[in-house]
């Protein structure tokens, strides 16, 4: 039957109205989300097995770390800097070393910065390193591991390695063949194969050279191993690897632009990394590992870490974690607080002269009611991070409020040019620089207050610790 054309206007209108009604009906009966979150574990994905165990209350017992170390540090002082940090007075050991360096122009200060993918590619850490080295001197990128999943993302030093390294990570291995190194990994050379490492300095201020490259490796019954070092076009030097001590160091070459280390007959030796520093000023080591919740740090071997600390003398340990325990649907982080308290206590035993600084998770946004909003788990997590910082006499920086608090991640992403990536979790170069500046700013305010107290005589000089330093 022929219809008048205007009927089709009305019919179209009615179709849309009915469609809205049908939609409303479907909404009542169909699921609200087309793609529910899948948390299927697939092999090949970086997963922090300790964190998973802890979250699922697995019967596997996880080391709680050491019991609380008695608070023997003297001169604890109250230093108030801003609303974004607490317990900064707990960093006096670090501040004192910095003060020595600043006033005498001699000595070294070393920071170990432990983190997760937020520090991938040396993000944030490189900016903090740069700020300290510009202010107090020091050259070099510090300690770099043997292999790294995010090596290609790092610009502060170009890091390449052959594919045949056998690396175990404390993220997914509880009982490694040999103790984990300070970056949470231990790497082995397979028998009878060409295995190499290559580092190249880039055009980065204070890191234009690989300063005093020194190899760190562990003990072994293998006494036939050697390493060939080529650090210029046509010069190769061969070194025997002496494997008698728990921790061995070998200076590979003078400062150089590029360095390639090729290992021979070096199977069964645990390799830990190469350190690059000029021996004075401030050095900051980036020990970030993607996916790390912080809990695996409890797996450090105390004796090995003590041996390492005798060589590197850490003054400040920074822990920037949290992102990897968000997103599991929980807002109760008391379990994380207790586990991380154990981790911090363990670290205090591993690095007895170091102050410890806890940096909270930053803001992270997820989709809620069809809009990107701050994950409801962020604030509870920050609260518990503050609690374990307090309980372990650590300094605490609240990165969440420092960023701007609730809703700040969305703003950082929307900023023009943007400061964070569209995963609403990670900062980009620009954002990381800003975060690095903010963290340094908090530490610097604390140091400023410390100096005021120190110079007015309200804090006396700390007696130098008597630990013997092993020579590199």
């Amino acid at each position: 039957m022929e219809q008048k054309t205007n009927n089709y206007f009305f019919k179209s209108f009615l179709t849309i109205v009915i469609a809205i009604g049908i939609f409303w009906g479907l909404k009542q009966v169909l699921p609200g989300r087309l793609f529910p979150e899948s948390t299927a574990a697939i092999s090949g994905i970086v997963i922090d097995s300790l964190a998973l165990d802890a979250m699922s209350n697995d019967s596997l017992s996880i080391s709680e770390g050491d019991s609380l170390v008695s608070d023997t540090l003297i001169n604890r002082v109250k230093i108030e800097t801003s609303d974004n940090s607490e317990g900064i007075g707990n960093l006096v050991n670090f501040y004192e070393k910095l003060y020595d360096l600043e006033t005498s122009g001699k000595g070294k200060v070393r920071i170990a910065y432990f983190g997760d993918s937020m520090n991938d590619g040396d993000l944030i850490v490189q900016d903090i390193r740069s700020a300290y080295q510009n202010q107090y001197g020091g050259k070099g990128v510090g300690f770099v591991g043997i292999t790294s999943l995010s090596a290609s993302a790092r610009y502060s030093v170009t890091h390449q390695f052959s594919k045949n390294w056998e690396t175990q990570s404390f993220l997914n291995v509880k009982k490694p063949k040999r103790a984990f190194g300070v970056d949470g990994q231990v790497s082995f050379v397979p028998r009878g194969s060409q295995t190499w490492l290559k580092y190249t300095a880039n055009d980065v201020a204070n890191a234009t050279l690989l300063y005093n490259p020194t190899l760190f490796y562990g003990s072994s019954s293998n006494h036939n191993a050697s390493v060939n070092i080529s650090f210029s076009k046509d010069s190769t030097v061969r070194y025997e690897l002496i494997t008698s001590k728990l921790l061995n160091t070998l200076k590979l070459s003078p400062s150089t632009k590029t360095l390639k280390a090729t290992f021979e007959k070096a199977d069964s030796i645990p390799f830990y990394g190469i350190n690059f520093d000029d021996g004075s000023g401030v050095h900051v080591d980036n020990f970030s590992l993607r996916g790390n919740s912080g809990l695996p740090l409890s797996l450090f071997n105390k004796d090995l870490m003590n041996a390492l600390d005798r060589v590197l003398n850490y003054d400040l340990i920074v822990l920037q974690y949290g992102t990897n325990v968000l997103g599991y649907g929980t807002t109760d982080y008391s379990w994380y607080e207790s586990k991380m308290s154990g981790v911090v206590n363990h670290l205090q035993q591993c690095f007895p002269n170091a102050s410890i600084l806890i940096i909270s998770t930053g803001d992270r946004a997820v989709k809620t009611n069809m809009e990107m909003q701050t994950d409801k788990a962020v604030e509870p997590l920050v609260k518990h991070q503050k609690l374990y910082a307090e309980g372990t006499h650590s300094g605490f920086i609240n990165l969440y409020t420092l960023m701007g608090g609730y809703g700040s991640m969305v703003k950082w992403v929307q900023e023009n040019p943007s400061l964070a990536n569209k995963d609403y979790t990670h900062f980009n170069q620009k954002g990381a620089k800003k975060i690095g500046g903010l963290i340094y700013g908090e530490l610097d305010k604390g140091y400023f207050e410390y100096k005021k107290l120190r110079e007015s005589g309200r804090i006396s000089a700390r007696p130098k610790n008597s630990t013997q330093s092993d020579d590199l």
């Binding site: 054309t5 179209s12 849309i16 009915i18 469609a19 809205i20 049908i22 970086v46 990670h426």
Partner: protein, 498 residues
């Protein structure tokens, strides 16, 4: 979606105000429930008053201006000014008997339009390059790009040139011209409509046949699926994060992001165009087709006949042909092709990466033309077609990397990362499993795209044959699909151990 309707009985004055006020962080889009609500009310009045042409013109124009305000803020004033000035200049030109005067006025019109476009779109680009060249320190200006300015400027220019060429009867009055320039369905993202195709429709009684009514709804739902289901989901949950930081990802993920973006940009752009064409059709206006499954192309030349067709036609008629087209010898033809695409690239955005993207396409068009002079490929050979199709697709996908990357550095990183790809199916499978939802959509998107035309026409026919209630069920189902995709939580971050 549709929370507005659900919360009908508990509206606060703030909420109602937010519907009518411009929110820069939430510009009005066709794929939002707010637009659906506005459109329904607008459409009902439109239907009831469609006999009154003059009222209709004023009414639609006002709604278009409101739509523009909700999409781009106060710059609706610029749109009104553009309509006014272009109309006056075109009228003066049309009434001038002397060709030289007509030509001068046309030149003034085109230059003026391009100057306004250049000011808003290219000032900072120009200052930036000037600073780089002469180590200058000129301050960048705080200029906001008015939404859709590239589209309505091109429409205004085409009107003047067609009028100059006497290919078109002028609009009867300024309001009619403003109606054409501001017609809301294509205002923000095209298609670029020619006045000579659009104005005559204004002067006819508007009508909607049974087939057109079905087609309009079909275009709207396919547009919604393309834009709000496929494009929005894969960009937020996969493509964006990889282009943000390519080195944090494996070569395989980066390659998949390049493929993903190839699908995303098509779904986003053509989906929005489809919705625009569908909405206009519901109002009884036929807008030109803008995309015709472009990735099925067997050459870059063919690609530009299928991709953003209204822009290609515009560039051909108002840039390539005036430059001399292919009438000035072979060498000039290549130069003209190349220049047209270079400028076409710059039209997409004020950055060298867009110019590079245009140059790549321009170069490919010239090379293809040269190639065809010496080599005649067999036309119906499946293997040859498959090879040409794959080559074209990959060339286009490669060029999109420049289009999407923040800058040349990022584009280079993406490309370098892809070159590090190694054959490792096990690892690839892990990535696909981990991003299962994303890959389902990418796969489905490409399958739909490469579906033979006969099959997709058949689906369209089936939809057209459905009774109204059947159509309503499908449209309602698509609404739910959009809603359920939009409310899906974001894909958690995944790192791989290879």
């Amino acid at each position: 979606m549709l929370t507005y309707l659900e919360s009908y009985f508990s509206l606060s004055s703030d909420q109602i105000r937010s519907w009518f006020e411009y929110d820069p962080s939430n510009p009005l889009l066709f794929s939002t429930s707010l637009f659906l609500g506005f459109f329904l009310i607008f459409y009902l009045v439109y239907i009831l008053t469609k006999k009154y042409a003059h009222f209709r013109t004023v009414y639609v124009f006002l709604f278009s201006i409101f739509f523009y305000y909700k999409a781009g803020g106060v710059y609706f004033i610029l749109l009104i000014l553009s309509a006014l000035i272009n109309y006056i200049l075109s009228e003066v030109m049309d009434l001038s008997p002397k060709k030289s005067i007509r030509k001068s006025i046309l030149t003034i019109t085109v230059v003026l339009n391009l100057l306004v476009l250049a000011y808003y779109k290219y000032t900072n680009f120009f200052i930036d390059n000037l600073n780089d060249l002469f180590h200058g320190n000129f301050q960048l200006q705080h200029i906001i790009l008015p939404v859709g300015i590239s589209f309505f400027t091109f429409q205004a220019i085409s009107y003047s040139i067609d009028l100059y060429r006497r290919e078109l009867k002028p609009a009867k009055n300024v309001l009619d011209f403003a109606f054409y320039l501001s017609f809301f369905p294509q205002l923000v993202a095209g298609p670029i409509v020619r006045a000579k195709e659009f104005l005559p429709q204004m002067y006819q009684e508007i009508s909607l046949s049974k087939k057109e009514a079905g087609l309009a709804l079909f275009l709207i739902i396919t547009g919604l699926i393309k834009k709000s289901v496929i494009s929005d989901y894969i960009s937020l949950n996969f493509v964006d994060r990889i282009f943000d930081s390519p080195l944090s990802y494996t070569p395989f993920e980066t390659l998949m992001a390049a493929y993903g973006y190839t699908l995303q940009i098509y779904c986003d752009f053509s989906g929005y165009s489809d919705m625009a064409i569908g909405i206009a059709l519901l109002m009884g206006f036929k807008l030109p087709e803008n995309f015709r499954t472009p990735y099925k192309s067997l050459s870059v030349t063919e690609f530009w006949r299928r991709w953003h067709i209204t822009l290609s036609r515009w560039l051909r008629d108002y840039l390539y042909i005036p430059l001399g087209g292919n009438r000035k010898g072979k060498f000039r033809t290549y130069i003209n092709l190349f220049l047209t695409m270079l400028i076409g690239g710059l039209w997409h955005g004020a950055a060298w990466k867009y110019i590079a993207w245009g140059a790549l396409h321009g170069g490919a068009l010239a090379v293809e033309r040269l190639f065809r002079q010496f080599v005649k490929l067999p036309e119906k050979n499946i293997l040859v077609n498959l090879f040409c199709g794959l080559l074209t697709f990959h060339f286009v996908a490669f060029c999109w990397i420049f289009f999407r990357a923040a800058d040349f550095g990022v584009a280079r990183t993406v490309i370098e990362n892809i070159t590090r790809l190694e054959y490792n199916p096990e690892a690839w499978l892990t990535v696909i499993q981990a991003y299962r939802n994303v890959f389902i959509l990418i796969f489905a998107g490409f399958i739909l795209h490469f579906t033979p035309k006969r099959l997709s026409d058949m689906v369209e026919m089936c939809f057209l044959k459905l009774p109204y209630i059947g159509r309503a069920i499908i449209v309602g189902g698509v609404f739910w699909l959009v809603y359920a995709t939009a409310s899906s939580s974001t894909q958690p971050f995944i790192y791989f151990q290879f």
